[in-house]
């Protein structure tokens, strides 16, 4: 397996509080990697370290072959990120949003143009290119947001609870897009609360109280813990948690 994310005892402390404790894992190229955990388990902290938003307290990690301490600029060029909050500009049109995000990644005008075309085609939004994002339904915004986060063809895309507050049908469509990206070779690192989504991942890790309590494919996890579904696996692990969610 070609690892594009590799961490070794990656730790983040806030004072005495250890938000993420000695995380060691690898994510392979083109993999859809689910990062599960209850609120406050340390998912977002871990993800932020990997994206370069937070400096780790100790441990090692490399993203797309670059060191997270010394080569953050190179990492930034090779990753995409979609935050929990919907992250497009409401008072810009669909194509202006794409142009802006493409632009700050230094894409050429021509690349942005062709990219915009193909993105709109995937979403079947060709007629909405000049529509203000504020006028789109939430589901469309969410999907557009995802495609914008991979507009610059990153090696890895980090999705932080991308489907929060979205209806089941749209969530399903959203996952179709994730598969679409994974098929193109993009590695997807996704945090989620929804256990049905965990089933869609190639492998999942479950974080409890800042440590990785389990890491395997959903099928193996169910087998090893003797449960019918991921929900029960997750519940068995997560109820041992001592920390209160935020």
């Amino acid at each position: 397996m070609d690892a594009v994310i590799k961490t070794e005892k990656l730790t983040k402390r806030f004072g005495n509080f250890i938000a993420a404790n000695e995380l060691t894992f690898e994510v392979g190229k083109g993999e859809i990697f689910g990062f599960l955990g209850a609120n406050g388990a340390g998912k977002t902290t871990a993800m932020r370290m990997l994206c370069g938003l937070l400096a780790p307290s100790s441990g090692k990690a490399s993203i797309a072959g670059f060191d997270i301490y010394t080569q953050t600029e190179k990492i930034k060029r090779n990753i995409g990120y979609m935050s929990q909050k919907f992250s497009l500009y409401d008072n810009l049109t669909v194509s202006e949003n794409i142009r802006f995000y493409g632009g700050i990644y230094g894409m050429t005008r021509k690349d942005i143009k062709t990219k915009t075309q193909s993105l709109l085609e995937v979403l079947q939004l060709q007629n909405e290119a000049k529509t203000l994002v504020s006028e789109l339904p939430l589901g469309w915004k969410q999907k557009l947001s995802f495609l914008v986060s991979i507009v610059h063809d990153p090696e890895i895309v980090f999705l932080d609870e991308p489907t929060g507050g979205v209806d089941p049908v749209t969530r399903r469509q959203f996952w179709d897009l994730i598969y679409y990206a994974a098929n193109k070779g993009v590695t997807v690192f996704v945090t989620t609360h929804y256990m049905d989504e965990a089933e869609y991942c190639n492998r999942v890790s479950i974080m409890v109280d800042g440590v990785i309590a389990a890491l395997d494919s959903p099928a193996n996890l169910k087998k090893n813990y003797g449960h019918e579904n991921m929900e029960d696996v997750f519940y068995e692990l997560a109820r041992k948690a001592k920390r209160q969610g935020d």
Binding site: L53, G80, Y81, S83, K85, Y89, L92, F100, I104, S149
Partner: protein
């Protein structure tokens, strides 16, 4: 560089698509100037005045006629005693009283000098200054006419008395005050809100994950407001020149330079506020409470700083608009050059540079 331009373009789109903000950005200075313009209007016509003539000779009659003939005054003669005049002032029916003492013409012919008393109701300082100026001009004019027709130089000296508000604070103070206030408001509030908005939206995280440098984010956020503020500055200058007859007496370049320094200071304060604030409301409240009040109170255009308690006087030193206000007054109203404002300019330079560096460093730390 190209990335920067794309970002700045986006910022302009935000500004131009948000009608409310746009209205505030450009409407505010215009509204303020027009408002103060009317309050300041130096054409005060048909002011009711009384002439108390205790001499009733050829000279006083001629001078009274001359005053009555001007479009500025509406003269009533019927008041005679001092108590009547005082009562009229108190009732507010007259704006000014002109009192010729007894033997006015005789004094003038024998001593070449005579004094006329001009008493104005200065409870409205703008009106009082304007009308006493008119009357002084009329008397000066009359003096030169007299001197032309007489061998010796004759002089009637107006003795001006301002009732109720002898200090006459106000008048041309307003335009510099409005400039300081508007620029401070636009720069501080708009930048802090613009940055906090991105934080609230969650787009800030995306920007930080991108290879786009924090310094660039800051520059792109500041640029539109810097440009808009400079436009506003010229709008204010043009309006005040057209409507208030208040031209820039000194160097426009120096004034613009001082203004840009002040704008940069305000932008950096906005930046600093945005780092602390979590919501747009907090940023807005912070800039209103933290900046607008000190600007209004401690700049010196509403309340004279010299009359404040020492503690407030000291405090006013750290209010940037205080120094900017001095620059505008000196350059715009008095026509002084760089040598007169170098102190204020250096203070603003130090303030803007240190605030900018401070906010830049804080900005980075927070997002690491």
């Amino acid at each position: 560089m190209k990335q920067l331009i794309i970002f700045i373009k986006k910022e302009f789109l935000h500004v131009f698509r948000d009608r409310k903000t746009l209205l505030m950005l450009f409407g505010l200075p215009i509204a303020q100037i027009v408002l103060f313009g009317f309050a300041l209007s130096n054409e005060i016509k048909d002011s009711k005045i009384v002439v108390a003539d205790y001499s009733k000779d050829a000279v006083t009659t001629k001078l009274t006629d001359k005053i009555a003939a001007s479009k500025y005054f509406d003269v009533e003669y019927n008041l005679q005693s001092a108590s009547q005049i005082e009562a009229a002032f108190k009732k507010g029916t007259i704006k000014m009283a002109i009192v010729f003492p007894e033997n006015f013409a005789e004094d003038l012919m024998h001593t070449n000098k005579a004094t006329v008393q001009v008493i104005a109701d200065a409870s409205d300082p703008n009106v009082a200054t304007a009308i006493t100026n008119y009357v002084t001009q009329i008397i000066n004019d009359f003096n030169s006419q007299l001197s032309n027709s007489s061998p010796q130089p004759l002089q009637i000296m107006p003795q001006i008395q301002m009732l109720y508000n002898p200090e006459l604070r106000g008048a041309p103070n307003f335009v510099p005050g409005v400039m300081a206030l508007v620029l401070m408001l636009v720069c501080t509030m708009m930048t802090s809100v613009a940055i906090v908005k991105e934080k609230e939206l969650g787009t800030m995280e995306i920007l930080l994950v991108s290879p786009f440098k924090p310094l660039y984010i800051i520059i792109s956020k500041l640029t539109p407001y810097l440009i808009i503020s400079v436009v506003n500055l010229f709008v204010i200058l043009i309006l005040s020149s057209l409507f208030l007859d208040l031209q820039v007496k000194g160097s426009v370049l120096l004034l613009v330079f001082g203004s840009i320094l002040f704008i940069l200071t305000s932008l950096s304060i906005g930046l600093l506020l945005s780092i602390g604030a979590k919501t747009q409301q907090a940023a807005m409240a912070g800039s209103l409470m933290g900046m607008m009040l000190p600007t209004m109170l401690l700049t010196g255009f509403l309340f004279p700083i010299e009359n404040m308690p020492i503690a407030l006087q000291l405090l006013s030193n750290i209010v940037p608009s205080r120094w900017y206000f001095l620059i505008i007054k000196k350059v715009m109203l008095k026509g002084l050059g760089f040598s007169a404002v170098w102190k204020e300019i250096s203070i603003l330079t130090v303030m803007s540079v240190s605030l900018f560096v401070l906010s830049l460093r804080r900005f980075k730390i927070r997002l690491q």
